[in-house]
Amino acid sequence: MYGEEPGINSIKDASAGRRGNAQIIMVTYAVVIVFMCMAGYIVYFMVNDSSEVINNPYNKRRNILAERIVRGSIYSSDGKVLAKTVTDSSGTEKRVYPYNDIFCHVTGRTANSMTGVELSQCYPLLTSHSNPLKQLAVTFRGEKNLGDDVYTTLDAGLQQVAYNALGNYKGAVVALEPSTGKILAMVSKPGYNPNTVEDDWDTLVEDENSQSALVNRATQGLYPPGSTFKVLTAIEYILENRSSFRKYSYKCKGSESFEGNVINCYGNEEHGGLDLSHSLAKSCNASFANIGMSLDINSFRKLCNKFMFNQKLPVKFEYNQSKFLLDKKSGTDEIMQTVIGQGKTTITPLQNAMIAATIANNGEMMLPYVTDHTQNETGQVVKTYEPVSNGNIIDKETADIIGKYMMSVVEDGTASSLSSFSYKVAGKTGSAEFDSEGTSHAWFIGYAPAKKPKIAVSIVLEGAGTGSQHAVPVAKEMFQNYLGS
């Protein structure tokens, strides 16, 4: 009864009414802060991540954008048009590729499932960064705005030279700038004509003559590396025998055997007394089998993994992973085969180019990329793609040593025809046997000028024969074109 007395009750109410308000205000601040973080995150996403995120093949909005924007052009680094959209008088758009099949894999296509740069830069090409007011005016006129243009790192001249040098062979060429990872050329043969790919599609897919013209051999073709792989075997040997590798000596009798497994040198040639450098220069299988049997396989596997075998590549185009499969359980025969580049190891031309470029770049691997920058219709740069390092794979000293060895391959070894230039070239040939009849893929990896490398190449010609005879001449023409004589 007394509790209901108004006076006492209202005094109690007044203080009770505010009880907990301090806590409520605390909670409110916390909520507002969390929401500010979320809003900030959304703004960050829009500014930094969204353009990257939406450029995904799963994003199906490109047809909507294509209704408003004329797809931008793709250029080579020297300003040649690789792809452009032409609109005829009736308003029908057609994508035109002036170089026909020369750039077909790397530039890609828009028809029949997008590929190449067309795919990796799909949304930038369909986005206009010209003056917003101008865009509005264009829209009011009922016209389409012009999408941004993409400038690639590709050198049109070099690409053509490589394309011609491959001749009628199936195969691939990759050229990188070692200090940046810029892809200077990327050829895969046979190609297809992206201008007529829609009409040719059925033939291309049926592929009666096993041409696999749609496959980009440069990034997707998996080949046995042949003797080019001896570069990695030599590196591993140097790393494991830092103090004694210079004293390595071996007397080649044309073959070597371990536990009844025999490895022969090419043409059973006897190379005689060899150190490590000459073992590589002469590409002596027997000597390398001997080296290989001394290696710590686990450590070798780790080295190869660092060189991005068995790894996903953080790149923006289709590729296959190169495979290095040796492990503790591998038998003697497999080890002997693998260290000379046969066995189960498979490699893409791109991967092999990355190995050469890493050695050329003092052991630091740069991730390969093909888009240099995008710019709007008036030429203002919208976005520049910076080189990205994949870390130091080997130390500078080791890179220097193996580089010298690769120079001796050119000076008095299997690639001697490259010694005629005014600058020094470093390289390694390979002849990778792929069937029991002894036919082989011709390989060459290398870089030039050896002192200050500007270009690293990787060349493979399917079933052509030896690297010296078939791959080295391609490299020669490319160096000639890119660096002069």
């Binding site: 007394y2 007395e5 108004p6 006076g7 209202s10 109410d13 009770a16 009414g17 009880r19 907990g20 308000n21 301090a22 806590q23 409520i24 205000i25 909670v27 409110t28 909520v31 507002v32 969390v34 929401f35 973080c37 979320m38 809003a39 995150y41 959304i42 703004v43 996403f45 829009m46 991540d49 969204s50 353009s51 995120v53 939406i54 995904n56 799963y58 994003n59 199906k60 909005r61 909507i64 954008l65 949304y123 509005l136 829209t139 009011f140 009922g142």
Partner: protein, 481 residues
């Protein structure tokens, strides 16, 4: 009729000049900027209304906001109509307009002295939902309109109920037991939808009991904790709250479980004023979250989809990835209403409506929407601060936390800020249960505000009388003592 046909038909009417086609383009292009500007002004006023206490100025702001809302609604409807030339859209426009006008007149009439900004916000959010749903599928819009109109009408009785049943706060145990039974009912007659078994189908209607129990849950916690925060009582109430949450976890309704849990912790913290409960609550929550992650694959899936949707884009990451595509492609100013591809995002009409809004109306619009939601929350909290009776104070607080935390879960989820939990954006998303419970939530808070206002006046009168009665009381006490 799709957009292209519509444009063609329009130009057919106007001859070869393609005047209509051009007008259409101009309207679609400019309208998205106009909508954003109008909505930005609206949002701005959501906050300026807090400044100062000039009643006339506030009244002006309420009016301006209302006209801004009608304008946005009109422009959006016009664009939708021109995109389809569907007379149904025109009819919808007038029905929706009638609803908005009716609600903005009827509410202040019944809820005497309500927070008008809050009412504006409720209607603005509903209108945004109508527009987006009308664009995503007329079916959704029809149903949403029916539900919204019905519940708004029914809510006009809430102030009467609050006043009539003054013993609301005596029923804590009843709320708890009713809530638990309703939630558990799903195990007996529930249906599974989107991976969570939290639906009850009655005839043509699919009900989500957790949406309604949400409100009962706040009443239960507020009523029992208002009475006492002794350790024993807290323990008892916590057990009951835990039962609610565990049932929801068992139904795989993670979003609702989280909302219930956080709401309870906050109510407990404010009721007891002991930070230790807050700390213990978050600690227990973290432990439970880690345990849930290790125990349940569906929790792992959500976390994977959040941490890296791109590698799992075919399955787990599909929704989040497509939501980000929508938001990113729409850009700051959107593709324009009817110009995007919001259909590419699964359940764009409900859980992922925020990405559909960002895609077509622009991320800038989306950010304004977030600010409007925050202003709702601040108004709720203001009301809670003013409440005199503990039960009302805690209930208003609990409802505000439920509301804003749900907004956080849905927007954070679709933008990949946090793992997605599959809850709706209150008032905007399609969903009968969601709309009904949110309108009730808004109305209850408004009702309490109104009631408190009455009481404040009453208190003021009482204060005056108190001084006169003071002496007499003391004498009385001495006598009875």
């Amino acid at each position: 009729m799709d957009k292209k046909e519509a444009v063609k038909k329009l130009s057919g009417i106007f001859g070869d000049m393609d005047v209509a086609g051009m007008l259409h383009t101009i309207l679609v292009v400019t309208s998205k900027y106009i909508i954003i500007i109008l909505f930005a002004i609206y949002t701005w006023h959501c906050f300026t209304v807090f400044l100062g206490s000039n009643i006339e100025r506030k009244e002006k702001i309420y009016k301006r906001q209302k006209y801004l809302m009608y304008s946005i609604h009109f422009i959006c409807s016009l664009v939708l109509y021109l995109n389809s030339l569907d007379t149904k859209i025109a009819v919808y426009y007038f029905i929706q307009l009638a609803f908005l006008v009716f609600a903005s007149k009827a509410y202040p009439y019944v809820y005497n002295g309500l927070s008008k900004t809050l009412l504006n916000n409720m209607l603005m959010l509903l209108a945004t939902g109508f527009i987006m749903l009308g664009r995503l599928g007329k079916n959704y819009a029809t149903k949403q309109m029916v539900f919204a109109a019905a519940i708004c009408l029914a809510s006009l009785f809430i102030p009467y109920l609050i006043e009539k049943f003054q013993y609301f706060d005596k029923l804590g145990w009843v709320y708890a037991i009713t809530g638990i039974i309703l939630l558990a009912l799903v195990f007996v007659i529930g249906k599974e939808k989107y991976g969570a078994k939290n639906w009850i189908i009655i005839g043509q209607f699919a009900l989500q009991p957790s949406e309604f129990v949400k409100i009962l849950f706040v009443f239960f916690a507020a009523a029992l904790l208002a009475k006492s925060t002794s350790f024993l009582n807290v323990a008892k109430v916590s057990v009951l709250a835990a039962i609610h949450v565990l049932i929801l976890v068992a139904e795989k309704d993670l979003g609702a479980a989280l909302i219930f849990y956080i709401t309870y912790i906050v109510i407990l913290f404010v009721a007891s004023r002991k930070a230790i409960y807050l700390g213990a609550g978050f600690l227990a929550g973290t432990v439970a979250a880690v345990a849930a992650y290790n125990l349940f694959t569906h929790v792992q899936t959500r976390v994977i989809a959040w941490s890296d949707p791109w590698s799992h884009i075919d399955r787990a990451g599909y929704q989040v990835a497509h939501s980000l595509f929508a938001i990113g492609t729409g850009g700051w100013f959107g593709m324009g209403l009817g110009e995007g591809m919001p259909g590419a995002v699964p359940v764009a009409e409900s859980d992922f409506i925020f990405s559909a809004i960002c895609e077509e109306l622009g991320t800038f619009f989306g950010l304004c929407l977030i600010l409007v939601e925050i202003s709702c929350f601040i108004m709720f909290i203001n009301i809670s601060l003013k409440m005199q009776r503990r039960f009302y104070k805690l209930a208003a607080l609990g409802l505000s936390i439920e509301y804003i935390f749900q907004v956080f879960l849905t927007i954070g989820g679709v933008t990949k800020f946090i793992p997605s939990t599959g809850v709706t954006l209150p008032l905007v998303s399609y969903g009968g249960s969601s709309v009904i419970s949110t309108v009730i939530l808004f109305s209850i808070i408004q009702g309490m505000y109104v009631l408190n206002g009455d009481k404040e006046e009453f208190d003021a009168q009482r204060e005056n009388r108190k001084s006169q009665q003071g002496r007499r009381k003391q004498e009385n006490r001495r006598k009875t003592g």
